[in-house]
């Protein structure tokens, strides 16, 4: 290859790189608002159906999320009384992320739990962590003891061959409980401050 050819190759590679980069930057700028809107949007009906008696839903914008929590939605009945909340969480399972949605009722016990996404393929590993025989163990739990792998004093049985994904779901539930605890602490602090004033 002579110098001219080398220069032409470098120029072509650089031009293609620049072109791709510019197209991507410009297209991202154009759709950035819509992308953010989609990422923070909430499929309300699915979340509202998780706790019976819910009529309206609200996603507080200024809430701080605990580790592993991606979204918190507060649920209300027709009179505006809180019926519970739904906490979306993410953790690591077999072959990828496990996304779990945990719904708490007004007594802070788990009313429903959905494994929204997992990367486990059928017939080998992680998909078993999404089966009701595993997820139903969490229903009705009001506390979690992470070091012993139990909820409300009951030991959670992990499914054979799907331990890693089951651990991912368990971590998600633990993150949801941490978030709930922080929310209640923050509410108590606000109430105390209000009372003092």
């Amino acid at each position: 290859m002579n110098r001219k050819t080398i220069a032409a190759c470098i120029l072509a590679l650089g031009s293609v790189f620049l072109l791709v980069f510019l197209v991507l930057v410009i297209s991202h700028m154009i759709v950035a608002d819509r992308l953010n809107e989609h990422l923070t949007s909430v499929p309300q009906e699915e979340r509202m159906a998780m706790v019976p008696g819910t009529e309206t839903i609200e996603v507080p914008e200024d809430m701080e999320y605990a580790d592993g929590v991606t979204c918190v939605s507060l649920l209300y009945d027709e009179n505006g009384n809180e019926t519970g909340c739904v906490i979306d969480t993410v953790s690591t399972g077999s072959d990828g992320d496990v996304i779990v949605r945990v719904a708490f009722d007004d007594e802070d016990t788990i009313a429903a739990l959905d494994v929204i996404e997992h990367a486990g393929l059928p017939t080998n590993l992680g998909y078993k962590a999404a089966l009701p025989e595993f997820t139903d163990q969490f229903i009705g739990a009001s506390s979690i003891t992470a070091y012993s792998g139990s909820v409300s004093g009951r030991l959670i049985k992990f499914i054979d061959d799907a331990d890693y994904s089951c651990a991912g779901v368990y971590s998600c539930v633990a993150a949801a409980f941490t978030q709930l605890k922080e929310m209640r602490l923050s509410e108590n602090e606000q109430t105390t401050e209000g009372g003092t004033e």
Partner: protein
């Protein structure tokens, strides 16, 4: 080029010259994304979209890219097309709860897109490349959906959630695993070659 010739290009991409059937390209997608019919269909559709956009771009730029740096440039252009499509679909079709990125991941590593760019797009016009890519994409989607259905029926004994077998007949779980996919894929390739051979007047 007449409409009939263009249709012939489309049919060629669909099954006769489709690299999925002639060279077993895209087999990794078949293994990883056919455990569910929905996944298989969406992966096929997104692969088809990526194929059409990237092949048309590569065909349009074939004269300005020197042959010595052809492959890195094509990889860059495919990456650009894929990411551009991902942005657009994520922004304008927010119907997928967890986003569509997981359907694009296998496309990114699929040799099918680069294979078709190298095999067809660099030698043909922009429109012909687009038509051929559409045919290849549809052929690939049909192949993935067929594999997913057969995998579910033979391996799990289910057809869209309905049990197929009864009594002592049991599904063969091997079909739901990777070796089963290779076997099913091989059978589909043989069938397509047989049909293509008959249409060409061959064996």
């Amino acid at each position: 080029m007449s409409r009939k010739e263009r249709f012939s290009v489309f049919l060629g991409g669909l099954y006769r010259d489709n690299p999925v059937f002639t060279a077993a390209l895209g087999i990794c997608c078949s293994i990883f994304m056919t455990y569910d019919v929905r996944n298989a269909f969406l992966t096929g559709v997104f692969t088809a979209l990526t194929l059409v956009v990237s092949d048309m771009v590569i065909s349009a730029m074939k004269r300005v890219i020197p042959k010595q740096v052809r492959i890195p440039c094509h990889m860059l252009l495919i990456f650009g097309s894929l990411t551009f499509l991902q942005f657009m679909l994520n922004a304008y079709f927010p119907m997928f709860e967890s986003g569509i990125n997981k359907y694009f991941l296998p496309v990114a590593v699929s040799c099918l897109v680069l294979g078709r760019a190298e095999g067809y797009a660099i030698k043909n016009s922009v429109i012909n490349s687009g038509v051929d890519a559409l045919g290849v994409g549809i052929g690939f989607t049909v192949n993935l959906v067929l594999i997913a259905i057969l995998r579910d029926v033979l391996g799990n004994g289910m057809f869209f959630g309905t049990p197929v077998f009864s009594g002592n007949v049991k599904p063969v779980s091997l079909f739901a695993m990777a070796p089963g996919v290779l076997f099913i894929s091989g059978c589909i390739c043989a069938l397509v070659k047989k049909i293509a051979g008959r249409k060409d007047g061959g064996e």
